[in-house]
Amino acid sequence: MNEREILRTELRWVLIVAGAVGIIVAVIVISSAAMVLHPPSNVETIDPTALHVEGEFVESNLGAVENPDGTITARILATQFMFVPRCVVVPAGRRVTFRITSPDVIHGMLIDGTNVNTMVMPGYVSQVNTTFPEPGDRFVPCHEYCGLGHGGMWSMIRVVPENEWKPDADGRMTCEFPY
């Protein structure tokens, strides 16, 4: 095999590898554009020392609420060592916006079986939008070590069918105990 043939073989291989990378990039770009997928990013600051006295994260405002346009906003407080509220009800098939913050240390939140996965930092509001296609209970552990009670810090997202989503006059619905 002479050098010209070796060079030709290498160039052919470069084309194959470029094609492989091109396929992956094309799939990501096309599906991201068509399905509006992108990494959650939200830079929004909040005073972590006043969460319990003022603003949207006061205790009475936590949990899921239906917005006038039919979408859902779920506000969750991640604190040592629990998520408040412990269980959040949302309807399947609707756009859900999770807004989460922390009054103490860095926590993490992921929803099992979905792509929702975010850090929760004191002083910032993490925001993730998603849609749950199927009803069911989703386990939500804290995935950032936050202290000795970290292992017991978890909550649940209860995705109910559309016909079981029955919010009260304020647009809120809570989990029935026990959960």
Binding site: M1, L37, F132
Partner: protein, 66 residues
């Protein structure tokens, strides 16, 4: 200052190159790149297929995030 001679690469039997005839070497080199090409192609094809399977079979069914 006393100097020592550098040891030769051929000082030990295991360091001496095998005695290969030039025409044998060329014959082997004719075949090797084809096999390597096939092996690489199979490896890359598997990589792409598995990536697509995980993307469409696991990532997308888990719902969109933004």
């Amino acid at each position: 200052m006393e100097t020592y001679p550098e040891p030769s690469a051929a000082a030990r039997p295991q360091d001496v190159a095998d005695d290969v005839r030039e025409e044998d070497l060329l014959r082997v080199l004719q075949d090797v790149p084809r096999g390597a090409f096939a092996l690489c192609a199979i490896a890359v094809a598997l990589l792409i297929i598995l990536w697509l399977a995980i993307y469409f079979g696991v990532f997308l069914p888990r719902g969109p995030v933004s």
